[in-house]
Amino acid sequence: MDAILALINQNVAPAFGAYWPAVSTTLWTLIKIVCIVGPLMGAVAYLTLAERKILAWMHVRVGPNRVGPMGLLQPIADGVKLLLKEIVFPSRANTGLYLLGPIMAIAPALAAWAVIPFTDTLVLANIDAGVLYLLAVSSLGVYGVIIAGWASNSKYSFLGAMRAAGQMVSYEVSMGMALIVVLMVSGSLNLSAIVEAQRGNAWFFSWNWLPLLPMFVVYLISGVAETNRAPFDVVEGESEIVAGHMVEYSGMSFALFFLAEYANMWLIAAMTSTFFLGGWLSPVPFLPDGFGWFALKCCFIIFLFLWFRATFPRYRYDQIMRLGWKVFVPLCLGWILVVGLWMLSPLNIWK
């Protein structure tokens, strides 16, 4: 590795002259981005397979098992199929916006990964305002849905877009409020610092999930709602508005929405494990910390997502709104107060 770097420094650097530091930083960052997005897309692809398999097992059926051994090549086959399909443009759609929609949906889902700490050193951008960045970027995702729903010029898409706008904005509020409590107890907006603040000597009981249990639940449920997964999937609501904003999309433009949804699921899982489940920290003192724990925690959260989907009926739109505004927001506000008083009292455990 060092030899390669030295070789590059010797032979390539002079060609750029004074611009070399800027060029090398850009290149190096790009390489790192590819190193994150590549495996992430792989994880997203295999999440679709995992979902179909796990749902199938919960439904007492077999699931995909024809493409490759045990169906392991199914996501590849799906991807190839979607790539080869025609992208249909509805004649009355606004072409520019229609194309922008899926891009706007997937871009934030990928961009947010910049600040997620995989281990204490492995993070693309260890910025101090990481939480703010995450909130800002993840709330951009709703634009993709709204733009797609509007540009399709279809009533079903439009309804889906309206529902998405309402739902995602509402649940961002409760998500943000749950995070305020996390910020209060960890005293930092830096994600690595938030994970470090959860290190304690009570094994995995010292992670935020236990002292902040109500917030953990609120955050998890808001996460499900934020990614439009069952039982909050009214945005797609296949038995009501068919597929909502995606109804007119086909081929790769549809696949982008699909990828965005699953990338968002991974993102929410990563955020939940960072904020509440101690990120890369090991649950027991006799095992070392590491990326494996982080991945395991993400998989656990993802499994919960799939489990919910297999079990629960779908909420109605107004019931989702009621849950968000009339239950979660007051609960969060109350818990902020409780934790605030707790921290001021002599019983404070977050010193």
Partner: protein, 417 residues
Amino acid sequence: MAEIQNYTLNFGPQHPAAHGVLRLVLELDGEVIVRSDPHIGLLHRATEKLAETRTWIQSVPYMDRLDYVSMMCNEHAYCMAIEKLAGIDVPERAQYIRVMFDEITRVLNHLLWVGCHALDIGAMAMVLYTFREREDLMDAYEAVSGARMHAAYYRPGGVYRDLPDTMPKYQLNKFKNANAIKELNEARSGSLLDFLEDFCNRFPTYLDEYETLLTDNRIWKQRTVGVGVISPERALNMGLTGAMLRGSGIEWDLRKKQPYEVYDKMDFDIAVGVNGDSYDRYLVRMFEMRQSNRIIQQCITWLRANPGPVITDNHKFAPPSRESMKSNMEELIHHFKLFTEGMHVPPGEAYAAVEHPKGEFGIYAISDGANKPYRLKIRAPGYVHLSALDEIAKGHMIADAVTIIGTMDVVFGEIDR
């Protein structure tokens, strides 16, 4: 200022929750339904008119295709109408077989209903669980009639043939080893009655599983309680029948009130709702499945103990046995007449109705003495239920329209006919 208008939404016919080919034009104020206008006729096959050009017996398979999830009940009403016109007596064993298969059909229908209703509301696992049980019952259909859905098993005067002594078995194949096949075939080693008894013993457990998933589920209750409320008076005035009527608290069940076949000898209860909402109708139908299970068990016990003929010996209407047909001149003539021009039903008119899984399914037949009906009118419960949709759905949200279509248990085979 621009004038604000409600907008219309074409809900179907190609819609996942349209249960076939319902075209529903919804007039919406935001998400709230102002008016819903069901359009029918996309599955119109002119069954009533077709029946006028076919012999009486040839229309039996058409009846299967009316409500294609409760096949034998449709046949039952049709055969009963002919029996009423012709004054044929049905042997008791045939009556028990009919009652048993009516109840099997009811369970089949309700299983499909609860699965699809839950799927519409978003609980996707239900439909896969219920189809697992439907598989067994369809095997029972197959065993008696050779067809898994469109059985054509009932005949005017009885049923086509007696219950089989053996069940079709799974064959060894490259996907399953001998042990797995043996396990699958265990319940099929005896007669059809053994197979059904085994099913009846297992079925209440399955029902408990469904109820665990749905009955006390908060989301399920939020989606169904108070949705699609029908007052008892309105339910009567709109002509609703079956679970739609009982859900509103009116105790009306043809099996109890106008017993046909051997229902008066059966020990079973009927459930009525209190609030008349979708949740009550769900509970009523779940209860009905348990009661159907009881009836099937009673029929099994009786059928085991009482062998006998399963079709009338009136050879003007039912063909003689092969043996007597080949050895007896009179029988040969009957056979020839039946299989060429068909039965001649005496002139007159008759209405026969059964408690179909969806409600009162009636056949009104007019005969002029020919070998085919002069006129056949089908009273389909789903048609009446669908006509109440506008009134029920008014003021609800789009998602509730899906619940209401589900709770009405509409099947377009019978609505469009």
